[in-house]
């Protein structure tokens, strides 16, 4: 097939460049190719210095998140045919510092993720001899949607609040906190509440809803955050009216 498609890829080498710039590449156009295939072709055949993250190439590891024509996408799940015959612009994930080319610095997200304690918290751990924690399918359904998060950070690239205020905890971290809050085995809701009810926790969110749109796994972080706001407000009123009842 003689057909080709143009890719405009951000290049930024901190040693040589003052700012990122777009570089054009001509890549073979195959109907079944995704943007990641095109990037791999560039790295293999055209310019081996192109740097980008990828791993599973099937939409489960969350490594290959980038901006494709201005929208946050997993490059392994975005087909070239969607944009053909026009040029495809690939840029690093928005609102994160760029380390090099398409690689972004994600420590901020990792710090925030740890901050919300995304693990089962229990007052007393049951020993293995005491038998397993039991959970019905209905109890699983309550939080299952939020557990599908693959930490790809597309929601952070979509969230204007995160772009304007880097202190904002962000959609994925709050959705994951909610996933554990709603898990019947967890007893840590109080601990997470104190962390998330800071101003840069849930209250900075203005329900733009772009995070849910960008999520490749239908986690609906926006819904998680609004539900959490309702819970936090209820807890706040309860603590006002029944101050001695606080756990």
């Amino acid at each position: 097939m003689a057909e080709t498609i143009q890719l405009e890829v951000t290049r930024y080498s901190p040693e040589h460049d003052a700012a990122p710039a777009l570089q054009r590449f001509e890549v073979p156009y195959r109907k079944d190719w995704v943007v990641l295939d095109a990037l791999n072709y560039i790295k293999d055949k055209l310019d081996g210095s192109l740097s980008y993250r990828w791993s599973c190439r099937m939409g489960i590891c969350g490594s290959c998140g980038m901006m494709v024509n201005g929208e946050p996408k997993l490059t392994c799940a975005t087909f070239l045919s969607h944009y053909a015959p026009g040029a495809v612009r690939v840029e690093p994930l928005r609102y994160f510092p760029v380390v090099r080319d398409l690689v972004i610095e994600m420590t901020d997200f990792m710090v925030k993720l740890q901050k919300v304690k995304p693990w089962i918290i229990r007052k007393d751990e049951k020993s293995i001899a005491d038998a397993e924690y039991r959970q019905t399918p209905q109890q699983l359904d309550v939080y299952k949607q939020f557990s599908m998060c693959i930490n790809c950070m597309l929601c952070y690239a979509a969230c204007p609040v995160y772009g304007l205020d880097p202190l904002f905890t962000g959609p994925a971290a709050i959705a994951l906190a909610q996933r554990y809050n709603m898990d019947s085995r967890d007893e840590g809701a109080r601990e997470r509440m104190d962390i998330l009810s800071q101003h840069e926790g849930i209250w900075a969110c203005t329900f733009v809803g772009e995070c849910t749109k960008a999520c490749p796994k239908n986690v609906d972080p926006a819904g998680a955050i609004q539900q959490y706001k309702l819970t936090a407000a209820k807890e706040w009123f309860k603590s006002l009216l029944v101050p001695w009842g606080a756990k």
Partner: protein, 142 residues
């Protein structure tokens, strides 16, 4: 390896000066249509506040006597006011529609173990809205 050397070997510098950070422009909300829709939704609150003020002025003029009331009605007939009220009406309608469409995401209702579908919650909001509007209109106009 001494402890001092080991410490230096694993040290990570969190803020590397050569990372490139793009500053978010003040006009970020004009970049794409969804951001713009969001900001318009937020700005609808201004028109909500505006009409509360109009309502307060109307009630105030009611209390000051028939002449004040008639003068208020005259001002409301001014074409500029009509235009402003028409725009307010559209914005408040936008608020209503976006509010009811988003409400099911914040209030998840479970009936008999299953989650009530979003469309049902949104629909019942719209029905309630139409019903309440009809009652209010009837009360004022009967």
């Amino acid at each position: 390896m001494t402890r001092h050397e080991a410490k230096g070997a694993t040290q990570y510098t969190p803020y590397h000066p050569r990372w490139y950070r793009t500053r978010v422009s003040t006009y970020w909300w004009l970049w794409n249509w969804y951001y713009l829709k969001f900001v318009l939704r937020e700005l609808s609150s201004i028109f909500v506040a505006y009409f509360v003020v109009i309502t307060l002025l109307q009630i105030h003029s009611l209390g000051r006597g028939p002449d004040a009331y008639v003068r208020f009605e005259e001002r409301m007939r001014n074409p500029l006011m009509i235009a402003l009220n028409a725009i307010s009406f559209l914005f408040v309608l936008f608020h209503t529609i976006t509010w009811f469409n988003l409400a099911p995401r914040a209030m998840v209702a479970h009936l008999g173990g299953k989650r009530v579908p979003d469309a049902l919650i949104a629909c019942s909001n719209y029905v309630a809205w139409l019903g309440i509007s009809a009652v209010v209109a009837w009360f004022i106009l009967r």
